[in-house]
Amino acid sequence: MRFVKFLIYGVPLLLVLLFAGAFWNATQLSTSRKNEMIIGSIGEPTKINPILSTDSAASEVASLLFEGLLRYSSDLELEPALAKEFSLSQTTTFFFASPESALAAREILLGLRDRWAEWTLRDVAAEGRELRLDLTQPGLDTSILIADLLGIEPITSIAQIRAEVGDKARELLAAFRAAHPEIDVVREWFDYDAVFEVSVLGDGASIAKTLKTFLKEQKIENLVVTALDKQDFLAEPVVRFVLRDGVLWQDGVAFSSRDVAFTFWALTDASIGSPRKPDFDLIQSLETPTPLEVVVTYRKPFSPALASWTMSIIPAHILEGKPIAWWDEFFHRNPVGLGPFKFVEWKTNEYIRLERNPIYYDGAPWLDAIVFRTLPDPIANRLAFETRQVDYWNVDPWAVKAFQEDARFDVFSAPAKQYNWVGWNLRLPIFQDLRVRQAFAHAVNVPEMIKYVLYGNGVQSTGIFPPMYWFANSDVEPIPYDPDRARALLDEAGWEVGSDGIRVKDGERLSFKLITNQGNETRKDIATLVQDNLKGIGVEVEVEIYEWAVFISRFVMKQEFESLVLAWTTPPDYDAFQVWHSSQTNPDQLNLVGYNNPKVDRMIEQLRQEYDRDKIIEMAGEIQRTIYDDQPFLFLYVPDSTSVIWKDSFRIRRPAPDGGWMDTPVEMTKAGWSYYLQWFYRPEYADKLPPVEVPQS
């Protein structure tokens, strides 16, 4: 009976005592901080591998562990990182009917040496039927000029043929070349083993036909053979990287061009299945003449591709020859990189601990460790921040003001790399009239939306490039809120106010559905405000909200919607092809609203081939302005992203531009407040740091 009584009364009593003791202990814990930064993140990283992960939690961790050949500066411009320097050039190849004509053409160009500087021409070589121009500047203009000068006639045109075979592309192409030795294949490229593209000399259409007949005989399902553009020459840009000497992986092994070649292989191999592959699809070859040299040849001029070399490099000495399952089980849970912090421990759903990498090539960080804690609940995140269990918090718009007014905190705010919009499906007649879209833009009160939805934390969007990028057009003026102008525009377009207050034209009411996804309160608010604002000018909007997966698969990707609220996240990339080019308007493509402006198409194509910085700024600006004027979207706003940290928990001591060290408080850059993370330190550990020689603020 004593035992029974113990069970009933004793166990609960013991539990209460233990609980009380544990609570007392928790209140007594020391509040002194280690020389570490603790970061809270909502999501758990999937796999820590820069070439495979697409989630932001994994990218955030990987960005500290790994390093790329290039990186973004604090102004979001490309700068060398693992590559000490890089240079651009281009090989343009002409094919002639005979070696004699090639030699003759070379003579002509040699005779015009005084114009080489203007053409950026460095050298001319003839080999067999080929004439190769070595240009210091990639692009098409010069090559077209020289082609015109040489005369089209002796030049054999080059046709591009693409064959989608599903499987065994390499084998099939080899068989085809063996069966048809008369066809001159000058370049071949494989998209996994599923697709091949060849450049052939001669008549593309007839060769494509021959190829198709050949492949049909091999009984290939879903065969697609397309003859792509005809060209007069091959323009192949070359990027040459010179790597830093003496860089070591975190395990002490030397970094070399072999790692770059391996990373490129991993990015493009089917067994790895990297989602980042398409960024590297334009590469014809990657060569490593020496351990410190990488030469990348592209299939055609495509300047945005340069940015893809910010891609982190992964270690060949660890991963080469290992199957992907091994990567998943071992490397992705215990990665080795070249970045400022090295991996130490990952406790699933709890934390990932990184410690300073003492052999980081750019100088070892001051902080001993960075810890990413997974805190899945937004309120838990805030509480963890308030109990100093994490060092910063990404504040929701509604809370920004309270933190700004609280002297205990530093608040960092800057426009996020995204813009929110309402898209009009331009395939539908009612949205095809520009005046109607302009009327909508005048009717929706965006400043008020920013005030109420974002509590003032955002700026009105002026088009497809957010303002922090160097190529964004800062001269575009946002369309002002002017409901009278909106009404006038609708009147002008023939939409007359009907008996129920809704405008009518030819018996059709100006009424449509506006859809968005569940779970995003901001978008719901936007939809409601748009509905209300448009009602004011006699437009009926019906708002419908769908679960995300349904919203995407049933409406957005099928492009079966009337209008929708969504946002685009924008990387520092001026290529607008996927979202704005008229070739991308089919289902599953991303020109969702079906925007089609031949002028913009042409500019987008030209911009991709342009390497000159000033011209890029000019052309990107023009694209942004033209699209804004066309109003395929009602461009709403670029929200601010705001972080808050406890005042004085960190300072920065970083190398001053003119030698020595500079010491500053944590401050905002275009790349965020934590751009100089490597040089962050806790003031209580300042004695470990080198002395400041150049006093600053």
């Binding site: 029974v4 009584k5 069970l7 009933i8 166990v11 609960p12 539990l15 609980f19 544990a22 609570f23 202990n25 928790a26 209140t27 814990l29 020391s30 002194s32 280690k34 603790i38 758990e44 999937t46 697409t54 996994y192 599923a194 089917a270 299945g273 990297s274 989602p275 980042r276 592959k277 398409p278 399952a325 990567w327 998943d328 089980e329 992705h332 699933t348 759903n349 709890e350 934390y351 810890v371 804690r373 997974t374 899945p376 609940d377 309120i379 838990a380 509480l383 963890a384 109990t387 269990q389 679960e547 995300w548 997966a549 349904v550 995407i552 698969s553 957005v556 990707m557 969504l566 991303l590």
Partner: protein, 320 residues
């Protein structure tokens, strides 16, 4: 008895098989895709998508997908679409923390349930019983996320003590005892909140069953024999009142590895509940299939166990 167990085991096997089919179809027919990238990522090409579908057999007919998934599950080679690791390993690594939390919650709910139930029954109808009854119903009725938030916010605001995860991060512990107490503190809160409903339910069952027992003739006889009230309650009445606890044991088996999405999320506790929740959000079919299968099997085994125990404790029950 043996033939009963064998028969029940066979039925359980068939049931598990059907459950696995139904749950597989429910999982895979939900809208959404397990692609690791966003549907609206402009940089993903068709060949990359096709390659991914091939890797995870998503291009196969659905019956074949079911077969491949089940074969993978039993050979231990079923891998998460999300991080490519074997799902059993993903579940296994969350097991210690999950077991710790659930064992604590079960101990708390059973011990406090017993205490409150016995106390209420012995004081049936008087004010302590009424108060405890109201409290029990309140505990059952209050949504756990609401109570959890109140507790978490209250403790943070009033005491400023860390309470998320499994330990106070970034602090230096003076000794091992302090570290252990810190661990206990991080376990105690989510376990207590997880146990709230259990305490309420158990105490109600025991109270009702004990009141009924106390009205039995043999209790009157015991009292008439002149036994003191303590012996009557604890020796004679209690023994016959714990049958509802045994019924509850059937539910304990799945509860041991089951998780609570809400409490684990709010307390950032690394349990299986969050694994399942993430898997649902990410459409990580293999992980969901494994979790569903294991849970279904445990529920059925738990029921079987409860039946057998019932017969063991109560000689009146015969298993045929």
């Amino acid at each position: 008895m043996t033939s009963f167990i064998i028969r029940r085991l066979l039925i359980t096997l068939v049931l598990v098989f059907f459950i696995s089919i139904v749950s597989f179809f429910i999982i895979t027919l939900t809208p959404g895709s397990p692609y690791p990238w966003g549907e609206l990522d402009p940089k993903i090409s068709q060949t990359v998508k096709d390659n991914f579908r091939k890797q995870f057999h998503l291009d196969e007919p659905i019956w074949k997908q079911y077969y491949l998934n089940m074969r993978g599950l039993f050979s231990g080679d079923l891998r998460s679409v999300k991080d490519g690791r074997p799902v059993l390993e993903r579940i296994g690594e969350r097991l210690p923390a999950t077991l710790a939390l659930n064992v604590c919650a079960i101990v708390i709910s059973l011990s406090f349930g017993l205490l409150i139930g016995v106390y209420s029954a012995r004081n049936a109808g008087r004010w302590p019983d009424v108060t405890l009854s109201v409290l029990s119903f309140a505990m059952l009725a209050l949504p756990s996320f609401w109570v959890s938030y109140l507790v978490v916010i209250g403790i943070t605001d009033w005491f400023g003590t860390p309470l998320l995860g499994t330990s106070s991060y970034g602090t230096v512990f003076p000794n091992a005892a302090s570290q252990f107490l810190d661990y206990a503190w991080h376990l105690a809160l989510p376990a207590s909140l997880l146990a709230l409903g259990g305490i309420a339910a158990q105490s109600r069952y025991i109270r009702a069953s004990m009141i009924e027992t106390l009205n039995e003739d043999y209790i009157r006889t015991a009292r008439a024999k002149g036994l003191d009230e303590e012996t009557v309650s604890y020796k004679h009445a209690l023994r016959n009142s714990i049958r509802p606890l045994i019924t509850g044991i059937g539910g304990l088996l799945p509860a041991l590895i089951g998780g609570s999405i809400i409490i684990e999320s709010i307390f950032a506790y690394p349990g299986i509940g969050r694994l399942g929740y993430q898997a649902v959000l990410e459409r990580d079919y293999p992980t969901l299939i494994a979790l569903n299968f294991i849970t279904a099997a445990l529920v059925l085994l738990g029921n079987l166990l409860a039946d057998i125990l019932y017969a063991a404790v109560d000689p009146r029950v015969r298993l045929e």
